[in-house]
């Protein structure tokens, strides 16, 4: 019997169900018959308990139900299997369970780690006839199946919730789409159409809410834009027509100017030669009064000649007749010196000192004759408006890939507020009127046109009461200063 106990848990003690029956002989108890049923290793009992409760149900290769009889905290009979698939006899209950059931004599219900899996378990105390707790009866049900069941239930529930949510979202989406998104999309589309120039495009005003208001405002704006656009287009057409008319007027004006100037040129030329022949005494000597009068007439003829020359230049430039024929030009010899020569008399009369800072070898790639016109204008101005006995300085400097050519003179300078209109057609400066010098109001305009046709710019710098410096640039294009 002890051996049987040791086999079933390595414990010499045993736990038994038992009964004691008095043996009476003739009304007198003569003995006691004691019967017992050893529970240690009594697997048939626990199996019977399990089968009566769980009908030997299996779940994923494990029995769903288990039953164990504990002697104290020692499993003496069980159908709980260990890792090797053996009945887990000889193992012990957890301290928590032992404490509650064995020490306190109360049932323990809950989730328990039984040998190698979680079980939903109930432990009940086993008492001896004196009500002492001597063991425990355990019945457990594998938790996994409940967990799986719960998981499944949860999944089902979750799917339902998700489905409902999706449905709700879909409903929301389509509702929003109809009430907000679509109108906004239509507005957005309409905006693009508008941006692409379709001012006739309108959005449908579907609702009486903010979106509807927005759509209505949009349509109003588009309508206004269309009106504005039409106004602008008609103004533009009008302007363009006006522009064409002006251009035509300008062209015919320039043609007339050119024609008149050309016609004036020949008689003026003959008059000039004739008058100066008399004035200079080639045709006989003059008295002082005659000389004075003829000198004055000569000055007027000079002015008229200059005027005619400038008008012809202007009319040719404006009619686009002037072609820039670029070639290598020795600036000093071919352009500046010939111009200075024509101005020699005036330079001497005004006592001017010409400081020609141009290197003799300086060559520029430009139209020689157009460049002469530029220097003619700039030098004529310097001689005319420069301070008497002052200087006229010519310079050349390389600046940022351009060659800058300058003509500077000592003089009153040009007031800042007059610089802006200096290069405009028919501009006249207060200064010119003060000095009593007549100008055509065209020279600088012509200079600018020529310089710009060469791909350069022209400007003026000045210090009032001291000096004036005109400078223009030409593309270098390999200009050399040998």
């Amino acid at each position: 019997m002890v051996e049987a106990c040791e086999r079933a848990g390595g414990e010499p003690r045993g736990m038994m169900t038992g009964a004691a029956v008095p043996v009476s002989v003739g009304g007198r108890v003569t003995g006691i018959v004691v019967m017992g049923n050893l529970l240690n290793g009594a697997v048939d009992k626990v199996d019977r308990i399990r089968n009566s409760v769980f009908e030997n149900e299996q779940y994923q290769g494990r029995p769903v139900g288990t039953a164990t009889i504990f002697m104290g905290d020692l499993r003496i009979s069980t159908n709980v299997l260990d890792a090797r698939g053996q009945r887990a006899v000889g193992t012990r209950a957890s301290e928590e369970v032992s404490a509650r059931v064995l020490r306190d004599g109360k049932s323990w219900t809950g989730r328990a780690w039984v040998v190698n899996a979680w079980y939903l378990s109930q432990y009940d105390p086993i008492r001896d006839p004196d009500e002492r707790v001597i063991g425990m009866l355990y019945v457990g049900s594998l938790e996994q199946q409940y967990l799986d069941l719960r998981t499944m239930a949860l999944n089902v529930q979750l799917s339902l919730v998700l489905g409902a949510m999706l449905l709700a979202m879909a409903v929301l989406y389509f509702t929003l789409r109809r009430t907000i998104v679509s109108p906004v999309e239509r507005l957005s589309f309409a905006t693009r159409m508008l941006a692409q120039g379709d001012l006739a495009y309108r959005v449908k005003v579907g609702s009486r809410d903010e979106i509807g208001d927005l759509s209505a405002s949009f349509n109003q704006m588009a309508a206004q834009l269309r009106v504005d656009q039409e106004e602008i287009q008609s103004s533009r057409a009008e302007l363009s027509q006006r522009n064409d008319e002006l251009a035509a007027t300008n062209r015919s004006y320039m043609e007339m100017l050119g024609f008149v100037s050309h016609e004036l040129k020949a008689p003026l030329g003959a008059a000039t030669l004739g008058l100066y022949s008399v004035r200079d005494g080639f045709l006989g000597s003059l008295n002082e009064a005659q000389g004075k009068v003829l000198a004055s007439v000569g000055q007027n003829l000079d002015f008229l000649n200059e005027m005619v020359r400038r008008y012809l230049d202007l009319s040719r430039l404006e009619k686009g007749e002037v072609q820039v024929r670029k070639a290598w030009v020795r600036l000093r010899d071919e352009v500046v010196e010939p111009v200075l020569e024509t101005l020699a008399a005036a330079i001497e009369r005004r006592g001017l000192q010409v400081e020609n800072g141009l290197a003799p070898g300086l060559r520029v790639y430009a139209d020689r004759d157009l460049l002469r016109i530029v220097y003619d204008n700039l030098l004529s101005n310097a001689v005319k408006y420069g301070r008497e006995d002052g200087y006229v300085r010519l310079g050349a400097e390389l600046k940022a890939g351009m060659i800058e050519l300058s003509v500077e003179n000592a003089g009153e300078g040009i007031p800042r507020d007059q610089v802006g209109r200096l290069f405009k057609k028919f501009s006249r400066l207060a200064l010119m009127e003060e000095t009593g010098q007549r100008g055509t109001g065209l020279g600088l305009f012509i200079c600018r046109a020529i310089v710009e046709q060469h791909g350069g710019t022209i400007g003026v710098d000045s210090e009032e009461g001291r000096w004036t410096r005109f400078a223009f640039t030409l593309p270098v294009e390999g200009s050399t200063n040998e």
Binding site: A266, P267, G269, A270, A271, T272, L273, G274, F282
Partner: protein
């Protein structure tokens, strides 16, 4: 003595269609002692030159009126005439050189119709100086 002086006078032919200008040039040049012939048409100018080759020809460039050779073409014909090819030419024109002329007058051009180009309006001192450069100093 008078006759001898007349013989020594240089003869200048002016070919120009501007009647007034021709008049002024003629008056000036004669007053300083040149003998002046003139023609208003290029073709007529060539005829006058062939009859009596001048010492100098003052030639306009552009001619109004019926179509005919212009000043540069006249210069070319003169250069091809064996009797006239050495007669110096001064071109005097209202035309502003390259601005209007159909050919380049730059110094490196293949052929030059004249050594001297003058622009109208011209003043007497300038014109006389240019003539003297070609013909030498005037007799006082």
């Amino acid at each position: 003595m008078m006759g001898k002086a007349m013989e020594k006078r240089k003869r200048i032919l002016v070919i120009d269609d501007d009647v007034q200008h021709v008049d002024m040039v003629k008056t000036l040049l004669e007053s300083v002692g040149y003998e002046v012939k003139f023609a208003y048409r290029p073709q007529k100018g060539l005829e006058v030159a062939r009859v009596a080759p001048p010492d100098l020809i003052i030639l306009d460039v552009m001619f109004a009126g019926p179509p005919g050779p212009d000043g540069t073409e006249v210069a070319r014909m003169l250069a091809q005439d064996p009797d006239l090819k050495d007669v110096p030419i001064i071109m005097l024109s209202g035309v502003r050189k390259v601005l209007e002329l159909p050919f380049s007058l730059s110094t490196d051009a293949d052929w030059m119709p004249a050594r001297t180009f003058l622009e109208k309006p011209i003043k007497p001192d300038k014109l006389l100086a240019e003539i003297e450069k070609v013909l030498g100093p005037r007799k006082p």
